[in-house]
């Protein structure tokens, strides 16, 4: 149909009228239309295109980018099941087979679709029907998923910052205020310079992966002159093996809102947006409740925290795309553009949301701000071990006794985190290796379990700390398969814009599959891996492709014999076959 054809759709018109004046309404409009119709009808998209000034073809393409927008009506929802690193340690095929015929208490189509990690790796294997999560353990028992698991109490002598009050019911405003919440925004308004210098001395760096100093980022946006500025909280948390932001938002939402409000008051932004991944529907509700409570109590609104300055916070829901966690891709997603990453520079601090100066920070980063202001930058800084500053949260999953989130001093040895805090592996097994940064930071083998958990120490090994997800693999696992699963995730989630990553992550996955197939492998396979690593690591357009080679480089570093055995074994197969 040509775009000159007139379309009528009163439902969509009404949704548009409701949303258009609100901040960055694009994703909310699409979700509202989908919630109403069960999918995104053509008539609706045409109207959305007209109102947003987006050509309908482009809008169509953008919608197809996301996993959870649907262009076709469906009578019943499909069953979606996580296929990534922590979950595929379980017998996914058996689980799938079992659930298709089972009465799960929720009507479904009986069709099973594999999805990328929905951030519930500590209770594998999550099964999603519509917007309800169930989890099916290896035993076959299927239960309603619990809300984000509360972190275990810290080991004696370990001082926490982010989790300090989390076990005291501080998700309600009343309890949060009792515990001292919502004090820091006044400091931000009264003494912004002092505030920034506390942040700087605390050594707080971004917890979303890139590790940029938070105080410096806020100062940069503060110094920009602009009509409008924005605070964006990156709650897309889509890296496999990462589920720390979920627990923070579930159990200490006011720390997040307070941190964002401070950022607003420091920089002069009047609106904060939480970009929440689609796969956290329960957080959508609870966080909105927290926002409503804080607004009713005057902490948010036209006179935020009595500072005389306005600050409001809204949630915008993603639609299933790991790359939308990359900050510039996230901004494009909010704006309704095709969510490819942008060319950097310019950075969001100068050209962010709608090209205006924007602070983008991770959930954990914002949550760390109020306690830092409360107790002082030096206090936070000295929580780290040795030269390291502060604490950070690690999400531990896989073959481990006590999967979950642990807040530990930066610089804690990996071995201590896994063997002491997380209870070690199961009876009679040993750790063979772990994934890092979630999965995109590569692998660390058992021989280096004493590595300290700080960015530089991991870099020295050739891996990356990233956002602190760790999936443990014990000695019954095949690490080539583990590497394949990590790479497969990146290939599935590559945005496809740049050639090295779009082709490279797919080829790497195919090559690792070939190694694992038991069939003869192609000649020159190792050289192909090396050449792909080179272009990925040096020419990719964003962090996803740039990180991909960590996986194979670390695989080769720790498990060269396993690779050689596969090649030799397959050589054998070739000989046998030809006889």
């Amino acid at each position: 149909m040509k775009s000159s054809v007139e379309v009528k759709d009163p439902v969509t018109e009404k949704i548009l009228d409701q949303w258009m004046e609100k901040p960055a309404p694009f994703l909310s409009v699409l979700h509202a239309i989908q919630d109403h119709f069960g999918y995104l009808p053509e008539s609706g998209l045409r109207l959305v295109g007209q109102r947003f000034g987006i050509p309908v073809s482009e809008l169509y393409g953008t919608v197809t980018f996301y996993h959870f927008f649907s262009l076709e009506p469906k009578a019943l929802p499909d069953i979606r099941i996580c296929e990534n690193s922590a979950c595929c340690l379980h017998d996914l095929d058996a689980i799938c087979e079992e659930i298709v015929d089972k009465d799960l208490g929720i009507p479904h189509s009986g069709k099973v679709e594999k999805i990328s990690c929905p951030g519930r790796c500590d209770v594998p294997v999550p099964i999603l029907i519509g917007e309800t999560f169930l989890h099916g353990a290896q035993s076959g028992a299927i239960e309603k998923a619990t809300p984000a698991t509360m972190p275990l109490p810290p080991e004696i002598g370990l001082e926490e910052c982010l989790f300090k009050d989390i076990r005291n019911g501080v998700s309600s405003l009343e309890k949060a205020v009792e515990a001292g919440s919502w004090q820091s925004p006044k400091r931000a308004a009264d003494d912004p310079e002092g505030f920034i210098s506390e942040l700087k001395s605390s050594g707080l760096t971004g917890r979303g992966g890139a590790g940029f100093p938070t105080g410096v980022k806020w100062e940069a946006v503060r110094s920009e002159v602009a009509d409008q500025k924005w605070i964006v909280c990156n709650a897309d948390e889509s890296e496999v093996g990462c589920f720390k932001d979920r627990v923070l938002m579930a159990h200490t939402p006011h720390a997040l809102l307070e941190g964002m409000t401070c950022a607003g008051l420091i920089t002069g932004a009047e609106v904060g947006i939480v970009y929440l991944r689609w796969e956290y529907p329960e957080i959508l509700e609870s966080l909105q409740t927290a926002i409503d409570e804080a607004t009713a109590a005057g902490y948010l609104g036209v006179d935020a925290c009595g500072t005389g300055k306005p600050f409001q916070i809204v949630i915008r829901r993603g639609a299933g795309a790991y790359i939308c966690g990359e900050e510039t891709s996230l901004l494009n997603s909010l704006e309704g553009k095709h969510p490819f990453p942008r060319e950097k520079p310019p950075f969001p601090t100068t050209h962010g949301l709608f090209q205006q100066p924007t602070v983008v920070n991770n959930v954990e980063t914002f949550c760390a701000v109020p306690p830092i202001i409360d107790r002082g930058g030096d206090w936070f800084s000295q929580l780290g071990l040795g030269d390291q500053q502060g604490t950070r949260i690690f999400s531990v999953s896989g073959d481990i006794q006590r999967p979950g989130n642990y807040e530990v001093p930066v610089g804690t040895p990996l071995r201590q985190l896994l063997m002491e805090f997380a209870g070690g592996t199961f009876e009679g097994r040993e750790i063979q290796g772990v994934t890092m940064a979630g999965v995109s930071g590569g692998l660390v083998g058992a021989e280096d379990l004493d590595v300290r958990l700080d960015p530089a120490s991991l870099n020295d090994l050739g891996a990356m700390l990233g956002a602190g997800g760790i999936v443990v693999h014990d000695d019954t696992r095949c690490m080539i398969q583990a590497a394949r699963e990590s790479m497969h995730f990146l290939a599935e989630e590559s945005c496809g814009k740049c050639f090295p990553c779009r082709i490279g992550t797919t080829r790497m996955t195919e090559i690792l599959d070939e190694l694992n197939s038991g069939k003869p492998v192609r000649e020159g396979l190792l050289q192909e891996i090396e050449d792909l690593e080179e272009v990925l690591a040096e020419t990719s357009a964003c962090g996803l492709g740039l990180a991909a080679p960590y996986i194979t480089r670390m695989l080769k570093k720790y498990w060269p014999q396993e690779i050689q055995d596969k090649i030799d074994g397959s050589g054998q197969a070739l000989k046998e076959g030809s006889e």
Binding site: M1, K2, S3, E42, P55, V56, S57, E58, L59, Y60, G61, T62, T64, F65, L71, A321, I323, H338, E343, A491, E492, E493, S494, C495, G496, K497, C498, F499, P500, R502, I503, G504, T505, T506, R507, E510, R522, G524, E528, D531, L532, E534, V535, E538, T539, S540, A541, L546
Partner: protein, 355 residues
């Protein structure tokens, strides 16, 4: 006023103007920088990463097409390391496409991908695996859409948006499962496409082609190319006429055409069937006793002149109204108005392009 600034490229000091990219400066000074997603008519995009160069002081190579030139920059374009990565990238791109003969290279002219393959002396034999997404069976009469050969540079989408402002096509999906589609994935005829063909001639592969030009049974080197001017309207777009055995088989736009810079409309691009049409008039005819009869030019002129004069004399100048053809050159249009005024004594003169 644009100020002249200086930077170093491959050891030589070169001047550049504010706003220029490193790619532009490097190419101007003669460095070889391969590209696949670049088209000078489009905004820099940075997707193929072939144009990477080393920048002194930076840890990683940068894509030169998106990198703005800055005073004092020190750039190296062709180190062994860069060349090796470019060569790997070309091999990776080749691996995406089927290995059969490229119809674009055979029937229209070497495509950019295969030109680079030759330059880097590589062929499609490493990194083999899945190939690009399936071609689209599009019933439109002109554009072949064979996305098996697509390398997802999105030049087609961008030229349609940025230059044509037709927004007919878009990129869909993501990662390996990307594609090119119209809104709601219908045929081009049902979309906002004007069939201008611009996407074909920015496409660096055989994914898009002129349906009528491929599979004519030609062999490389047999096709003759003659530069000409489009006969359709007064704009005067430069075109290349492709002919095989003295017969015209197609048109391609001329990128350095002074008025069109590579742009053409649907008529100039695809509307040349009349040249070889059976119905085409090749000599003057006069209807005699109800039959169209071939006559000499002199007879035709005398006949027409006499009829026109009788219109003027019998019915007055107001009975005459001249409409110049948009396809006529300026001189022809001038003659027509002169004739209308001086001979027919009428002021009623117009041009079909005025509507």
């Amino acid at each position: 006023m644009s100020t002249e600034m200086k930077m170093v490229i491959d050891g030589a000091e070169v001047s550049f103007k504010e706003g220029e990219t490193v790619l532009e400066v490097a190419r101007r000074q003669g460095s070889f920088v391969p590209t696949l997603c670049y088209d000078e008519r489009l905004d820099p995009y940075g997707s193929c990463r072939l144009c990477v160069v080393e920048v002194e002081g930076r840890r990683l190579p940068a894509s030169s097409c998106t990198l703005k030139a800055e005073a004092g920059m020190d750039i190296r374009t062709g180190s062994d390391h860069i060349r090796k990565m470019q060569s790997t990238l070309v091999e990776m791109v080749l691996s995406e496409n089927p290995g059969d003969e490229c119809p674009r290279c055979r029937d229209i002219g070497t495509c950019e991908v295969h030109e680079l393959a030759e330059e880097f002396e590589v062929s499609r034999d490493r990194f083999l695996g899945a190939i690009s997404n399936a071609s689209k069976d599009d019933s439109n009469p002109f554009l072949l859409r064979d996305y098996d050969r697509c390398i997802s540079c999105y030049r087609c989408v961008r030229i349609c948006d940025e230059v044509e402002a037709d927004h007919a096509i878009t990129m869909t999906g993501r990662g390996w499962n990307k594609g090119i589609a119209t809104a709601f994935d219908g045929g081009l005829m049902d979309s906002d496409c004007t069939l201008c063909g611009q996407c074909i001639y920015t496409c660096p592969t055989g994914a898009l082609a002129d349906k009528k030009m491929v599979n004519q049974g030609s062999k490389p080197g047999e096709i003759e190319i003659t530069r000409s001017v489009c006969p359709y309207c007064g704009t005067g777009c430069s075109i290349n006429l492709h002919s095989l055995d003295g017969k015209m088989i197609g048109v391609t736009p001329v990128l350095d055409g002074p008025v069109n810079e590579g742009a053409l409309c649907v008529k100039g691009q695809f509307g040349f069937d009349f040249v070889n049409s059976e119905d085409r008039l090749t000599r003057p005819l006069i209807r005699k006793n109800g039959e169209l009869t071939p006559v000499s030019w002199n007879e035709a002129f005398d006949y027409t002149a006499q009829k026109l004069l009788s219109v003027r004399d019998d019915h007055g100048p107001k009975a005459f109204y001249a409409i110049a053809s948009g396809r006529a050159p300026g001189e022809g249009s001038y003659m027509l108005q002169k004739f209308t005024r001086a001979v027919m004594n009428s002021n009623q003169v117009d041009n079909c392009s005025r509507g």
